[in-house]
Structure formats: C-alpha cells, structure tokens
C-alpha cells in the first residue's frame, strides 16, 4: 500500500532540504572571497563547520524520512522543495529542487560524513601548505557540487552538477598546479570525463525530447502516487517522470531505426556512458589512477568515496529505465564485471600505494555496477546490494586512503617499497588500516563481508553464474592485493631511513581514521534491505547465506594466504613468480598498455588521419577564403583610399552626395 504523506506538513529539515548543499556553497563563497585572504586557519574552521552543518541537516532529513516511511515499508520519492528554474514552454519546465528517497538520503549521508571527516583530516594533513585556504574552498565547492548532484530531482539539474563535480575535481586534482604531472592528470581527468559526458548529454537530450513529445503539453500521464509527493507538477525532465512505468512503456516501444534496438536502450547506453566516465568503468577508467596526483585527502574524497560513485548513483537513479531496457542493463553488468576483474588484476602489480588503492576503487565500483546490472525490477536485491556496497565501500575506502595519506605524510613517499615496518611507528594507522583491509577483503564480521555477500547472492539469484564466479575470483584478488600492500607497508623491516623516522600522525588526522574504522566495522550490520529498496517487491535481508558466505570467505582466505606466503619474509618468492610470468607480468604492470593504446589512437590515428587534414582544410580553405575576402576588401579599400582624407568634412560631403542620390532616385520614381 502506498504511504500517504502530506507534502505540506513536513518537518523543518525536509522543508529546508536545500540547506544541505547551501552550507558548502555559502562557505565556498565566503572562504574563497573573504576569509582566505584574512586567515588560512580560519578558512579551514569555516569550511569544516559548513560541511558539518550539512551533515547535521542530512541526518535530520534521514531521520525524518524514515520516521515518515518506516524501514521495511514502501519508500516513496519525495520532492519536498523545488523552485522553477527554466521555463521553456507550457508543460516543459526545469526545476531546481531536492529529491529525498532512500538512495539520495544514503548518498547525502555518505557524502557529508566522508566530506566532514576529510575536512578534519585535511586541516592536519595540509598544514603548512601555501594553498591551505584555497584547498578548503575547493573542497567546499566539491562537496556542494556532489550534494547538488545527489539532490537533483531532474536529470538537467543532475547534469549541471555533474559538470560542476567535474570542474571541482579538475581543480582539486590539479591542486599542485606547479607540478606538471598534476596539471596533466587534471587535464586528463577533465577531458576523459568530458568525453563521457558528451554521451550523457546526448542521452539527456534524447530522453528529454521523447519525454516531452510522447505526451505533449498535456499533463504528464505518470502515476498519481509519485506526483502526490512533489511540491510542483512533474516535468518531463524529472526522474520521477523518466522512470515512471507509463513513460517507459511508451518510450520502450520505440525502435531506433531498423537496428532492432529500442531507442530506450540507446538512450540508456548513452547515459551509462556518462556514468561510466565518472565511475571510471573499463574503457574510460584511465583518468582515475592518474588522478592520484591531487592531495591524498582529495583522493579519499573524490576518487574513492564520493565522486566516483556518482556514476553508480546515476544508474541507480535511472534503474527502472535500465530495467525496462534489458540490454542496457546487461551492458552495465558486463562492463562492471569486466572492470572489477581488470582493475583487480592490475592492482596486484602496482607499487604506488595510492595507485593500488585507485585500482581497488575501480574494482569495487565494477562490483557496484555489476550488482546493479544483475538486478531486475522483480528481484531488486542487486540494487540494494549495490547501494549497500557503495555505503560500506565509502567507509573503508575513505579509511584506506586516509590511512595511506597518513603513511605518506610520515614517509614522504608513495612507493610501498620505501615503507615497511611501520606498524611499530604508527600503531593507530596500522590498526585502522588493517581493519579496512579486512573489511575490503570481505572477512566476517566486517562490513565488506556483508555487502559483498549480497552482491554475490544477487548475481547468483538472478542466474548470472558466470558473473558470480568472476566476482568470487575478484574477491580473492582483492584480498591478495590489499594484503600485499598492507604487509609490505606495515610489516617487515624498515626499508629506508624515511620509514625509520616515521611517526604517528597528529590527532586531527588519526581521529577521522578511528571514526571511519568504527564505521567500517559496524556498517555491515545496517539492515540495508529495509532501508533501501525499489519496486514493489522487497529485498529480504538474507542474514548470512552460507552457500555464498563460505565460498566468498574461502576466496578471501586464499588471497590473503597467497599474500602472506609471498610478502612475508624476503621478497624473493614474489619476484620469482613475477619473473616466471615474464611478459604477462609486465603487461599487467603496465596496466595492459591502455594508456598507450589511447595515446596511439589519439596521437597516431586521430591526429594524423583526421586532425591534420581538417587542420589543413581549415587553414587552406576556410581561413584561405576568409583571407581572400579580407584581401579583396583591403584591396578595394586601397583603391578607394584616396577618398579617405581623414577629415570630417570630406566624409560629410560624400555622405551628402549619397543622400542626394537617394533623393534623386525618389524624385525620379515620383515622376
């Protein structure tokens, strides 16, 4: 049954849901323009307080939402606050508003929590940096963009904030703008995601075009149930409209030409292209590892916990549409699965601690995508599982990154082989890092176990045995590479002087670590199925399904065991295996030469075969004709330049002659 909610009588937090993104925005303006020049220290305080306020409001919204719609029941979509932004024509306006439903509440909580902790952490980590205030302004801008994206009730607003997220991540990755590598990394991230957003934009336009034209200016024929929960009439660009069964039924029936694919599939694959760009799915993943050039807290915030899940969030948001177009969902599933395997394989060979974590992020994002891809509207367990994993992953991946940051802060190096033996020097970092490693590897009773378990269960339940097997293998790989870096970093002897002189991070840095560690432990016990669901069918929380838990745990144990075997004691065993693998190892270590392939395609093929001829055409034909006309103009100007005496009177004489001519013509016409 539907839960009846009177949208007019919501609580304060609901009615003022715009406060969530507003706090960081105001703080960004204040810090960037006024506070930063005055006091670096104070800007950190203001920025952190702003994000913390957002967190408080987000918590209030979550409480209120689950008070109105108790866990386990129906979870309607509310748009408690909106205003009209762009009015194109009757029946087609674009609003700016805040959407409140389980996944947006979840994302708001995740973003604000992680962002608050990262702010606190950064105020210690970035101490002494000349761009201290600027950093916090950027962080606020980023948080604002991400919250705006999460809160978007329509796809246009989401697109706007999507791009804002891109901009702010560009700014943050290129934070050390004196470093050429940082600059190129930020450019790379920007260009790759922009390329992906092109697809997204075309998808948005396609959806918008058909959403408006299929129903015309008449009232959108979507479920009254959903419309009742909005402050404003539904518009074609609203998610509620785009995912309504009425629209999807009509749109899904349209075929794209004679290809045999429906237009819906095309639109959804295009939208997924944007999601894949932001979430760094396989062919568009190349920017994420390089994006580690930003400061480490930024990596935690952007590239592990929040920004990259935007793609997952988008797919989840549009999930009913994906579900109607089964092919698009299949694409999601297989791209996700492949990315998770691919990234995990690369992750086993990397030596840069942040790079390993980046590839692990890729792998985990693939997991989430995969989970979404295997879900259907009838058995939406994968949907819940994906969100669950997003949630737990945010906790332990942020923890991992912040821990890595702490280590890097102490050792002043990213190379795991420069570290070693740090467990004695940095006990808190060590313990928290270990908790996170265990969590990501999927060991009971930590959070990763539960979420991964659900993903595997959903894959199996929906008959995707191949994906299930692949995911199981990836789980093992995950355990292997995570323990690899853990062991190399924290165990063994001090490999360098730097490691020898390392010491524990200041409290401002380790307190967030501890909080995140606690979260990583307990997050798994949230009955996510009761909180996050889609469709009429309820995803049951399975508890521990031993048919899945046991193989998963065995896989994790295998991975861990291999790591222990190879990376304790001397490193000769690992080297031996690497040597025996030979070319394969090099291939993996070089990340399957994907970057080089890209470079080859862009530099060799596109530049030489497309750009150069076009450039020649532009120079010779387009510019040439322009130049020729300019030359002709100038030549004729030269011919008549004797008239240009530079004196007003001669000009007015010519003018008078012209006027006389006109009058004569008029006169002649009259006679």
């Amino acid at each position: 049954m539907t839960t009846e909610i009177d949208i007019q009588h919501l609580g304060f937090a609901m009615r003022h849901a715009w406060l969530v993104p507003a706090f960081p925005l105001v703080s960004f303006v204040l810090v960037a323009l006024f506070i930063r020049p005055l006091s670096q220290r104070f800007s950190a305080v203001v920025a952190t307080l702003a994000v913390f306020s957002s967190w408080v409001v987000a918590c209030a919204i979550a409480c209120e939402y689950y008070r109105l719609c108790p866990p386990g029941g129906e979870h309607p979509v509310l748009v408690p606050w909106a205003f009209e932004w762009l009015r194109y024509q009757p029946g087609f306006t674009v609003n700016v508003g805040v959407i409140v439903d389980p996944i947006s509440v979840l994302l708001m909580l995740v973003v604000t929590t992680v962002s608050t902790l990262v702010h606190i952490y950064s105020s210690g980590y970035m101490k002494g940096d000349p761009g201290y205030g600027r950093f916090f302004a950027y962080l606020n801008l980023f948080t604002f963009s991400m919250l705006g994206l999460v809160a978007a009730p329509n796809i246009v607003q989401m697109y706007v904030f999507w791009e804002l997220v891109g901009v702010s991540s560009f700014l943050l990755i290129g934070f050390y703008y004196q470093k050429p590598s940082a600059v190129s990394a930020s450019k790379k991230a920007f260009i790759v995601t922009r390329f992906a957003d092109l697809g997204f934009l075309i998808g948005v336009l396609t959806l918008g075009y058909f959403a408006f034209n299929l129903f015309g200016a008449t009232a959108p024929a979507v479920s009254a149930r959903t419309a009742a929960h909005c402050t404003m009439p539904l518009q074609p660009m609203d998610f509620l409209y785009l995912t309504s069964p009425e629209f999807l039924a009509k749109f899904g029936a349209l075929a794209a030409g004679s290809t045999g694919i429906t237009l819906l599939t095309v639109a959804m694959v295009l939208v997924f292209m944007g999601a894949a760009g932001k979430s760094a799915m396989f062919p568009l993943h190349i920017w994420l590892p390089d994006a580690m050039e930003g400061p480490t807290p930024v990596s935690a915030l952007i590239h592990a916990a929040t920004m990259v899940v935007a793609g997952v969030y988008l797919v989840a948001r549009m999930f009913p549409a994906f579900a109607v177009s089964g092919a698009a969902l299949l694409v999601v599933a297989y791209v996700g699965a492949f990315t998770s395997l691919f990234a995990a394989v690369i992750g086993t060979t990397q030596d840069d601690i942040k790079r390993v974590l980046a590839f692990s992020t890729l792998s985990q994002l693939g997991y989430m995508m995969l989970a979404l891809g295997v879900a259907t509207m009838d058995s939406p367990l994968g949907y819940t599982a994906s969100m669950f994993h997003l949630f737990t992953h945010a906790c332990f991946k942020a923890l991992l990154f912040l821990g890595a940051g702490s280590v890097i802060h102490a050792v002043h190096s990213n190379e795991i082989w420069d570290m070693g033996g740090l467990r004695k020097k940095m006990p808190i970092t060590h313990i928290t890092f270990l908790i996170a490693t265990l969590a990501i590897s999927g060991f009971w009773p930590l959070s990763g176990f539960f979420s991964k378990d659900e993903i595997l269960a959903s894959a199996l339940a929906n008959g995707h045995t191949f994906i299930f097997g692949l995911a199981l293998f990836v789980a093992g790989l995950t355990a292997f590479y995570m323990f690899r870096i853990y062991l190399v970093t924290f165990w063994g002897d001090f490999r360098t002087d730097k490691a020898h002189h390392a010491h524990e991070a200041p409290p401002l840095m380790w307190i967030p670590l501890v909080i995140l560690a606690v979260l990583s432990v307990v997050a798994g016990y949230v009955p996510m199925g009761k909180f996050v669901s889609i469709g009429v069918e309820h995803a049951e929380h399975h508890g521990i399904n031993f048919a899945i838990a046991i193989p998963a745990t065995i896989a994790a144990l295998l991975g861990t065991g291999t790591a222990l075997l190879l990376y304790t004691g001397s490193g000769s065993r690992a080297d031996a295996i690497a040597r025996s693998l030979g070319g394969v190892h090099t291939l993996i270590k070089q990340k399957f030469y994907i970057d080089e392939v890209y470079l080859f395609i862009t530099h060799r093929l596109i530049f030489n075969l497309v750009s150069r001829p076009i450039a020649w055409f532009d120079r010779a034909v387009v510019d040439g004709s322009m130049n020729a006309s300019a030359w002709a103009t100038r030549a004729s100007g030269y011919l008549f330049s004797w008239m240009q005496t530079g004196q007003v009177q001669s000009y007015s004489a010519w003018f008078a002659c012209g006027a006389m001519l006109v009058l004569l013509v008029l006169w002649a016409a009259l006679i």
Partner: protein, 142 residues
C-alpha cells in the same frame, strides 16, 4: 474684400512650402558644414541642420496628425540631443584648443591612415602597428 488680401490669403503656405523652407535651411547648414574650417563654425552649421530636421517633425505633425503631439515631442528630443551634442562638442573643442592650439578641422587628420599595403594576405595589423610605432618614434626623436 480687398482682392490683394484675397490673393495673398490664397497663397497661404501648405505642407510643401514648409518642407521647402526646411530644405533650404538644411541645405544652408550643409553648405556651412562643408565650407567652414573652424570646428565651432561647423557645429553652428550642424545646429542649423538639426533645427530644420526637428522642424520637419513639427510640420508633419501639424499637417498630417494635428490632434497629436508626437512631432513636438520628437522635436523636443532633437533639441535635447542637440544640447547634449553642443555640450560635448564644445568641451572637445576647448580641450583640443588647449592641447593643440587650434580648432581648424583641416589639421585634424590624425585618423587618416597613411599605411595601406596590398601585399596580399599577411599580418596586416602588425604592419600598421609597426608604422604607427615608427611615426611615434620619429615624432619624439625630433
């Protein structure tokens, strides 16, 4: 009735007579505009021209649309614009006189570009700038 008076009254001016009058005044102003060398003289000629143009509005208003005042309103706008023009014009002349010691328009030809080349498409601007540069240099070298 006196036939002379009747004859005179029969020649009461019509629209075309009025327009002919303004044409004459305009042409006189044009003559002044073309022949005067002094900027103030030119400005006075321009005033004459503006005046005759404004009168055309009133004439057409009177003869073609007598119940309205649009022509008068337009004439008032013309007068206002003329006032603004004179203010700025006079300010410019005074400033010019102060800086150049002359208001002879024959000597105000620095806008004339002596550098015009037809060597074909090339960096035209740079060439012009180079020549202006040269001109400045020569001016300051003396």
């Amino acid at each position: 009735m006196n036939p002379l008076i009747a004859q005179i009254a029969a020649h009461s001016p019509g629209l075309r007579d009025w327009l002919a009058l303004t044409s004459v005044i305009f042409s006189i102003g044009l003559y002044g505009l073309l022949t005067r060398r002094n900027a103030v003289g030119i400005l006075m000629a321009v005033e004459l021209m503006l005046n005759s143009a404004a009168m055309n509005f009133v004439i057409f208003n009177r003869f073609c649309l007598p119940a309205r005042m649009d022509g008068s309103v337009m004439a008032i706008f013309v007068i206002a614009v003329a006032a603004a023009e004179v203010v700025v014009g006079m300010a410019i002349f005074v400033a010019l006189y102060r800086y150049r010691g002359t208001v002879d328009v024959n000597q105000m030809n620095t806008m004339q570009d002596p550098v015009i080349s037809i060597e074909g498409p090339g960096d035209f601007n740079r060439e012009v700038m180079k020549n202006i540069n040269k001109q400045y240099k020569s001016r300051h070298d003396h």
